[in-house]
Amino acid sequence: MISYQNPFRYRASEQQRDLRAFLLGFGPAALHMLPEAVWDRLVVLRSAPGAGKTSLMRVFTAESTRAVIDDADTFRDLKEALASTGATEGSSPAVLGAYINLERDYRSLIDISANGTIAQRLFFRLLDVRVMLAFVRAALVLSKHTYPEDVGRIVVRPKNPDAAVEQAARRLGGLDGAAIYTACAAAEKKMLEMLDSLLPVEWEHEDGGHNDLYSLRLLSASELLVDGHLLDVRPLIMFDDGHRLHPTQRSALLERLADRGLDVARWYAERYEALSRQDLLDQVGKEGRDLELVELESIARGAASSDGKARFSTERFEKMLIDIANRRAFKPLSRSLEQEHDFSELLEFEEDELLLDRDADVIKVLREQVANGDARYTEWLQDAAKLSGYEAALRLRELDVLIRRDRDRTQTDMFSQGLTVADSKDRSSSAIREAAALALAQAHGLPYYAGTDLLPKLGSRNVEQFLALCGDLFAEMHAEMTLQRKPKVSAQRQDRIVHRASQRYWKEILRRVPDGHLVQQLVLAIVKMAEQDNIKPTVPYPPGVTGTALHMSDRERLLDPKVRESIPGADQLLAALSNAISFNIVSAELDRSVKNKQVMVIYLNRLLCPMFKLPLGRGGYREKKLEVMAKWMTNPIEGPQHEAAEQLSF
């Protein structure tokens, strides 16, 4: 018996450590989510955790560009994608990418002293020395040298004599690589030791800080020499996890990064939070001129960016997810099947498989249900009778909806004419068919959540979530392969695996998400509201309600502590919504225009839909007033596996 590794189950640590595995599993199409202007201004990347910010940045690090260029045959499509962004030129890197994680130590600086000025000066000092160390390391990687042994090979040379640049260099150890390394490493070590001290530290007596990002000023006005030769690359400093900074640190950093006087590419990534003042980037600069805002989920759904153009589409994003999964599983599948097989191929099935060999029974029941002797629908039913298998079943279920809708519309018109097949097509839509397919599956106990069209939707525009689901599916393939059988996963098995993943996702909310019990309460309230509409046989909001919406003015009120004081449940609603958005339990889309109103649309994470028998399409939502939503939080709803234990919030 041969044992196989599940390539989706070691995504984090293994992938991060093994650069080659990371690059092989990266979908180059993701680079097309970036705007054109990424090198001359601040780029702000935002998404829910797991949507791919860090991976996107990691592809631009010196380690990655070096590896892609050095092994161009293996990474041909990634090399082309990098070249299209301008990160490489021919067989040379054009960008020197250095990665800085902002979740490390910075926020603790706020707590060291009551004096905010000292904390801010130390923040910039620590950030500066880390930028320089990361830059030196990236320069050595790009020029195929060893860090830190070869730091002496590097020289930073000012392009023109400038007192400000000289001052910046002095603060960072000088212009020579070895001096920069020595000074910055010592400064970093000293600051971290003080920050970590178990005994009291007198920070007020320390004079190591400063109030600007000198590193970016120095790099903007300088060239990089390695062994005396000019390395003609543009520095790119990537700051990740900005949401871990204190708000004052975040705004101070963004203000400096937005400075158009800088000649260094700088990217800043943070978690998307629709219920904070995060959106107030106006104070930093104008989008499209001073900065580019890249909201990954928004781009994935095909929303237009600041220039009014859509860079991506939902279909393209879902194809990209499938491509990533295929890349990830390629090796283990090829090894076990001894021929090239795509992971997605093993999830494909004939549509009729969805009827579980019960075609005759299911279609008979549906025909009896739809047949009503009304001559008005004769042509529709005759047309449907020509079909067979799943196609027939789905069509009959769809006609059931259309006939009910028609009757509601024409009940007073007893002498109306018969309807044509063309009429049925005009009156139907993909959303109605989706609702019909789900209703068909639920009524007859058939699988629904399966296949390469639906599975990417369950990722909820989140790469990590989709890959975790692929891990569950691969585990099934794994069992088959171990038994030397073809690892094809039937529609029924896929549906069961998806349901299990959905239940696990729901259950984990309590342990994974702060105020998880409130988040579950919010989800249950949305589900209950959705069920009231989805149960109607005419499907008034096809494919079904899976979300809610809050008027933007109500959103403003929710953010106001005084308003919250006056509305029972508003505090809990804010906690539930903000945590649900931060942890991708719901998605929030700001400023959607609906009937001359601006609303924040809130959709449930698609992985919750199977658990609550909801469709995966994002068409339907019902707008609710703030007071109504707040009331959801004060009237708990009993739900599946809803744990009633109260939370002590510390």
């Binding site: 390394y181 910055c184 178990l198 342990r511 744990e643 939370q647 002590l648």
Partner: protein
């Protein structure tokens, strides 16, 4: 930085003093450490019924004439049951203080931006206030303290007493009660990061060639926290610690089984890398972790700077082994703490408290001189 101890005889706590409930030996340790001398008893002020168990016994032992109680306030709550339980603890403490003529100082919970910094801030403020200055005997009762607080406090007290060199006696008391642990469920998970005071060079940009070995001490229902830490650390090797021997001999196996996907598929742990430590003896875990650190530091040295990183997901008692190893060898300790707790619907303080088992570790002072 101190040199790494490589052999058992060089370990600070290779020989140790530990007492478990049941035979009166805990009272004997208190007697031996500081009879008729000034004592400081540091404890938490919270809802956990174990808050008061140690103090009740300590004062009743009648060993001390002059006791200062330092009560560390925990983050405020509006929860009625928590307030009620905390109120009961405070009422009993007030009565004990009056009965035994002790003094009380309350340390407010600091306003911090980074919750992991709270323990360090508390340690600094207690030390700066000079509360340990004239104390001969210091007892730190960690029973109701979150990890981020008791690690920094214990570390701070040890560091302060070493620096002051006044031959003080330091003991740690913990009320172990698995039934109570089971009745309090962790909710939510904060981002994984090092505990302030135990960062120990984890994220030095200058040391980015660091070879990381992660030793999580496993306990139940911690999969979310373990995943968060795994993603944060990107460790090269993972050596999970399972409790064995344990009161329930199957406990280690059950944990391994419960975490099989996480350990063996996601983290690709080599079964040979699993290590075991006595569930009831934190010094055993300390020695195991010390050996692990010495082994990896030596063998992987050619690859770069080796960092053995610890995290405690187990009982409070076993977490003390992590604390001692991290303190002595300057190892980073990472946590992804819960953001809240819930009490089981049938929470019964009286019934649960019957399972309280006090344990006392003597960590500095006369036995080690």
């Amino acid at each position: 930085m101190k040199p790494q101890s490589s052999s058992p005889s060089e370990l600070r706590w290779n020989d140790y003093v530990l007492a478990h409930d049941g035979d009166g030996s805990i009272e004997q340790l208190w007697q031996a450490a500081g009879a008729k001398r000034r004592a400081v008893y540091v404890m938490a002020e919270g809802f956990d019924p174990r808050t008061i168990t140690g103090l009740r016994r300590f004062l009743a032992s009648g060993t001390f004439e002059n006791v200062l109680i330092i009560a560390i306030a925990l983050p405020p709550t509006k929860h009625e049951l928590a307030l009620k339980l905390a109120g009961e603890n405070i009422a009993e403490r007030t009565a004990l203080i009056a009965k035994h003529n002790a003094q009380l100082v309350t340390i407010p919970y600091p306003q911090v931006s980074e919750p992991r910094a709270a323990g360090q801030r508390i340690a600094h403020s207690v030390i700066q206030a000079g509360h340990f200055k004239d104390a001969h005997h210091i007892v730190l009762d960690v029973s109701a303290m979150p990890t981020s607080i008791h690690f920094a406090l214990a570390g701070g007290i040890l560091a302060h007493c070493e620096k002051a060199a006044k031959s003080q006696e330091i003991q740690i008391v913990v009320c172990d009660n698995p039934a109570m642990d089971a009745a309090i469920t962790n909710l939510g998970t904060a981002a994984a990061d090092a505990i302030n005071g135990f960062t120990n060079g984890l994220d030095l940009e200058a040391g980015s060639k660091q070879v990381r070995i992660w030793a999580p001490v496993l306990g139940p229902s911690e999969a979310v926290a373990l995943r968060a830490i795994r993603d944060r650390l990107e460790a090269r090797e993972i050596c999970p610690v399972l409790p064995f021997p344990a009161a329930d001999p199957r406990r280690g196996d059950d944990l391994a089984l419960g975490y099989r996907q996480l350990l063996f598929e996601e983290m690709r742990v080599n079964p040979g890398d699993i290590i075991y430590a006595d569930e009831r003896n934190p010094f055993d875990l300390y020695r195991t972790l010390s050996r692990l650190n010495a082994k990896f530091t030596q063998t992987l040295k050619p690859l770069g700077e080796v960092k053995v990183i610890l995290s405690a997901h187990s009982s409070k008692l076993l977490s003390l082994g992590v604390l001692l190893a991290a303190y002595e060898h300057h190892l980073p300790v990472v946590s992804a703490p819960p953001t809240g707790w819930s009490l089981s619907p049938d929470f019964d303080r009286e019934q649960l408290s019957k399972h309280d088992q006090l344990v006392c570790l003597w960590i500095d002072g006369s036995p080690y001189r």
